[in-house]
Symmetry: C3
Subunit: 149 residues, 3 copies
């Protein structure tokens, strides 16, 4: 079986799939924030008020927009490290079943995290989803450090 | 022709060039914010006021500094996913002309986005620059998902 | 000696090690922020106040939590570009000694940056740590652009 960063390597191919899913999800948080900004007419910059708003810049913050932004920021803090550490982890030549399980758990935990956060589902559900994703990243980071030592 | 992540692979070489350009641009937003902070004496931390400011921390926010920071944050949200998705996209072995066109459109749209944002050029110019970059990322993400499926 | 992204390539192996260290450090800033939030009962979302707080959401900001968050954000702005540019730089086939020196300087400067920031050690110590890291990234970015040109 092929090794390294190639779609002929099953571990890489699965990684690319799940990395694509979580990156796509993260990228779509940006326009999702904008949809909410336009609907609620709360913007970050003066020219946006001129184009899309009705009155002058108010400087107020909207709780729901701040929630979408926090969710996006949490993705940036977790999804981006996942893709980077995951790429290095693929190159350690891990067991296929273990690796695919890790990628699936991570992707599932991040999709759940978003649903939980945007709908304000009571804690500790969000904390658990967050810690599961962080656990996968930490596991892969130690696998990389061990291999590179 | 060489495939995979090697400068002998024309698609990768072009990708590395445009990724280098947009990453360099993104990294330089940090010291650019600092230049504005020192010039306007508005800082984020107390020790910065002691070293570079004249008075005590005021907690006020400066609209221009917030604009530079928003621009930087928008880069982090779009340029980093571009480099990650782009790396996976290069490994799908795309048509050279198509791939280079995508990289050029992305790099151009992000440089324009920065000029438009920092100079507060009226909307919808910034929205268009943003959506063009997002479109390239989304296209590459689906190409990766299709290949990995 | 092996080239490219393989643990048999000494430059890559060293890169993977230092990238793993700084990514791990960056990822651990998230739960570190949460520990401070729970200890000081200052949260970002209403459901967190219900679960972990005593009173209703106050909307107030805590200076120490904002410091941890700024430190984390600065990591995202510098560590993530390091890993991306570093990966491309490894593929340029650099001199082993030079490359390892750059990775070590970067990792050291970021660990120092965190210690300095969290303990509010007087400027210009933090500025120097930041600029050293930025210098390494900029050097690698130009090496990539030169190779890809």
């Amino acid at each position: 079986m092929a090794a390294g960063l190639s779609f002929d390597n099953e571990v890489f191919s699965k990684f690319a799939f799940y990395a694509g899913v979580v990156l796509l999800k993260t990228m779509l948080m940006s326009p999702w924030t904008t949809v909410h900004r336009i609907r609620r007419k709360v913007f970050a910059s003066a020219e946006d008020y001129v184009a899309f708003g009705k009155g002058p810049a108010s400087g107020k913050q909207d709780p729901h927009i701040e929630r979408v932004r926090s969710c996006h920021q949490n993705d940036l803090e977790n999804v981006i490290p996942f893709v980077l550490i995951g790429l290095l982890y693929v190159l350690t030549g891990p067991d296929v079943a273990t690796a695919v399980l890790l990628f699936r758990i991570f992707a599932g935990s991040r999709l759940l995290h978003t649903v939980i956060y945007l709908n304000a589902i009571p804690q500790p559900s969000r904390a658990i989803a967050f810690l599961v994703g962080l656990g996968v990243n930490t596991f892969m980071a130690f696998a990389v450090l061990k291999r590179a030592w």
